[in-house]
Symmetry: D2
Subunit: 364 residues, 4 copies
């Protein structure tokens, strides 16, 4: 019986004078494809309310950072600039406290307690020396909750599968139902499949650490073999891939996106080569996410952070937070995400190998 | 008067028995698009010779790592797997000392001196504590040489233009003729253009470090503005962009590739959204490169490292080394490139801001 | 003509009710050597005022973090716990706004401008991607000012002298008068002297990077040689050491402390083996410091940060800030100092080699 | 039933001509305290044999890096330079293959297998992306073996006890008998005792991560309290310290050394303030060590690495390897130890919190 409960969300009080007397939001048409009208309003990660008619404040659904608000009939959509077409109606006005009919609600999940006002405290930032026991325990609680009652989205770099125990642990978490979506690149899949075929990653034993003879061919051979099957799914279904993360993902019918990058060899079948098409696929999962766990990749972590709001409006209209955990070895990488605006992210600074093994050990 | 001279290249001695008696290389046809025949030979970064007829050893041109050798009439091409078509003839055999008609020549530029055989020495790896004076001096010599006699290709992450002096220094190097090609992403260009329009990067003053009012709109506004012009080139030519790196690159007609990524906002006009198309554009420059300087980006550095050989065959048939310098703050990032096979890279561990200012100061 | 001027210091307004009506501070005697009385007051890095008689507020001189205030007749001293003797009178009471007769003044140097209150900004922390041009310019101004009008204290790890150009640059700054004190360990001095004797550091050429034959003996030989002279001073005066930082320090009669550590070989003559005696020597310099520049050492930087206040009371009674710059490659190291309470430190994230060469180039 | 067995040690073959015909080693007297005679021989981490009489090769016991060999009657001692006295006889000659009567045996534990001679392999260095499953398993085996049959020496920085679960895990390993010696500084003990008294480290909750009210006094209060008891031992025995690492160490009568540093507040009673006296205490434990585990401290790790040989001569005259594991978050820190000569060290790159929890979980 877990003590865990989601925090309550409090809607803004629209009866306060600033909001009660706020104007209705204005929308201007685009003059050119992909170009927003002057003074467009850009969305943040917080809940935003738009007053579309006197007293009617609409909470944006499926929001994300750095997009615009498009009005389609009575519906508001949060869309990337690149999707704008001539004539699209876009919300304008940048003030965030109702002055332009838009209210950004930063304290919806805040607990009542005030912050300390002492002159001084040591250790106010997060570093490798921060204590992480409570973060692990919190994460375990959230994952147990969201396995049944949410959508757990994982983001991973290849380091997740470079180690034998870590690779097994992640596959096990998929099998146990803790992975509802996976965002990764060609490399994670390639080296996971190399592991299934040769027990190596880039030619080095994932357990033994020995360099395999002609091991530098392994990743190319793995890609070539999967291409021969036609798809990763075919390779799994035909018995060509018997363990690992991609095996688990395919067998458990987990949604995944493999986004291409300029670093790729291959690529594997199924990798999305156009990065903006890949963004669309990723956001289709991100907009469902209630918890995101991003591990050992700056590229995919920042990309996902960009498209993940801090809240989720559930089907019953209730609002809950989206948890975002980052696992990385470096303060720089963890801090970079925070400095990009994903302020609500929790960082755990450790090697992803230990992290994923810990999770699998703690969760049934 | 510089003491600098390119090292001599020594071709292999094909009269030694192993090579004199080596078989002619074999080529097998592809059975399926994108899939290499069994036992295909993959290229490395070193000079490779293929014996296409008895005694006729052809040195591969425009080679790169992890590709295959395709025979088209009498020509040998080094191509990515994804470009293979049914029926293409691909070299097979993985042995590298002539046994399969292929010879990988790892010592063409080696000087005669032997290595020390003492039991022990401290400090054999490269770290932040390595002495870099000689690397700077060597690089200055190479750049002076290659400005007239080579193709200097730069690879950069956005950190190159986050600092006012660094951004000016890099633009100055472009103006002075030390930049023949530039590989970057949407972010470098976006923040450089944000700098030109607002003197900020992600809203923070690139000199003052002050947060601009509504500064978090600046990068979006910059993209929106450039889209309004239609292209970066139009923005420069119409006077909308008066300083910075992209201004210099456009005015000096430097070839550049902006490769898209899943992290992108926008993107700017001209960014290549398909990563494999972007790879093709990048390789078109990489195959001309005589010196590569890769700064503060793992993604673009590894991508470029993958497609850059250690040698260049000049028009007169002579062979010279391709110099590859990596500038990064972390041993991990520098080492990762080495661990990906780019063994000939020189790493300078420092902040790219100082690095680029140093270069501009040293070079007229 | 520099625009640089020290910021004005504003004393607290002791006429406000909280301070006007504050009690006189209490002092309790120590019952045991080295043990402070219950409820002792510990000092911070900020200016602190103690009301020793009605209306008489004394500003602490030579303060430092984590010490106690000892009353000796009418004088207040800031002393380490380990220096307390039975019967010493120590200030008690931990409240900082006058409630206990003690006032901690955190805003003496604050400019009037308020901080922005926008919901959001990117890039609020310091990282390798922060712009450092203005920090360099500010530091140049401060050093030019303090060469004549202050006490510039340098703290350095051995990385400062592992590179030929950096070692020369630091020695040059000493010769030019920008170094009034140096805090370092046995390693900096040992490898600097190794450089003078063999042009190596730990056996590797400080310019050539070549491993010297039997180079792993060099640091031991250097120590042995200096011991033969009797002292570093003797070695310099007798012509045994002709270049480098220790040569410059000795010839320019710069005060220095070489604090011993458990890592030391040797040690060199003059190294202070007892760390608490070393702390005393270090603090004798730190209490004079108007600017501190700490480079590439966590141990000595944190030690110095612990004993350096944020302000200095000059002989004429005026109060000025103490500038504290940290140069390091890692966000973790820079952040660690901040997390230890040295909140006013400026971090420049770069390789100390470039940093010191930049300084020497900019300063005549 | 573990598969683990110590590797066999093979003595050199002294019948080969170079050794059979080697001269007897020469010893020269010191002319001055602390100064070795010219051409002294410095020891390495490998087994070294000295021919003291024709055909009599003595294997050095209790060796360590960067010391000299002193002959006292018929005994050979490996001593630090600082311990030399006028008249002491010190071995001279730097050649390592018998030419000077000294033989450095680098391959005593080498298995027969040759290394691969392929042109190329990816991933030859150790980084955060290296697979560590096998290292954990190996370490578990060694610890199980050495609990009864060796001396397990731990070296730790304060990060080991900043986290609640990690602190408990380390204390548990002490209680289970896996810790025979502990080398640390004032900080580890201070913050561990702060944890026992206040459940904080530097004022931050070791589980809750909350800043305690007036928490920045906690470490000073802890030191003050322990000083009041007179010693850590007294504090434990009188019930003042009821959990944590120091409690476990004291109760289990584990030998420990707390070496002072210039960063220290306090210090705690029992901290050795003179670093060379501390080195002597540390080496008294290091010379018994059969396995060393050094966690999250550069200072103590390098100090210990300097004084730990790669082999141990057991009481029955047999020779076994000394295992040396380093746990750190940064490639730089791990590599630095290797670059200082401790070539046989195994690095595990992760957060020490996870590391120590893993060990405690795996070991009964």
């Amino acid at each position: 019986m877990s003590r865990f409960a989601l925090p309550m969300y409090r809607h803004p009080d629209f009866s306060v004078p600033e909001l009660r007397d706020a104007p209705v939001a204005r929308f201007e048409p685009c003059q050119r494809d992909g170009v927003a009208p002057a003074d467009y309003h850009a969305t943040a990660i917080y809940p935003e309310y738009v007053q579309t008619a006197r007293g009617k404040w609409i909470l944006l659904r499926h929001s994300r950072m750095d997009c615009v608000i498009r009005k389609v009939n009575d519906t508001l959509e949060v869309v990337e600039f690149r999707r704008l077409k001539v004539g699209d109606l876009v919300a304008v006005g940048r003030r965030e406290n109702g002055e332009d009919g838009i209210y950004v609600h930063t304290t919806g999940f805040a607990s009542g307690g005030g912050e300390s006002c002492e002159t001084f405290a040591f250790r106010t930032s997060t570093s490798r020396e921060t204590s992480f026991s409570i973060d692990y325990d919190t994460l375990y609680d959230i994952l147990r909750h969201d396995r049944e009652n949410g959508f757990i989205l994982w983001v991973g770099g290849p380091a997740v599968i470079f180690d034998s125990d870590a690779r097994k642990a992640f596959a096990s978490l998929v099998d146990k139902g803790y992975v509802h979506g996976l965002l990764a690149g060609n490399a994670l899949a390639t080296h996971d499949l190399e592991g299934a075929l040769y027990e190596t990653a880039l030619g080095q034993g994932i357990y033994s650490k020995k360099q395999a003879s002609m091991g530098h061919y392994h990743h190319l051979d793995a890609i070539n073999a999967i291409k021969g099957y036609g798809s990763i799914e075919q390779a799994v279904h035909q018995g060509g891939v018997r363990d690992g993360v991609m095996r688990a993902v395919v067998e458990n019918k987990v949604d995944y996106v493999l986004a291409g990058s300029i670093r790729d060899d291959g690529p594997l079948p199924g990798v999305v080569g156009d990065v903006y098409a890949a963004q669309d696929c990723m956001r289709a999962l991100a907009r469902k996410a209630t918890t995101v766990i991003a591990m050992a990749t700056q590229l995919h972590t920042i990309a996902t952070g960009n498209m993940t709001p801090s809240y989720q409006v559930l089907e019953d209209g209730s609002v809950r937070p989206v948890y975002f955990f980052i696992v990385d070895m470096s303060e720089f990488a963890a801090g970079k995400l925070a400095d990009r605006g994903s302020l609500t992210a929790h960082a755990i600074l450790t090697n992803v190998q230990d992290f994923i093994v810990n999770l699998n050990r703690a969760l049934d």
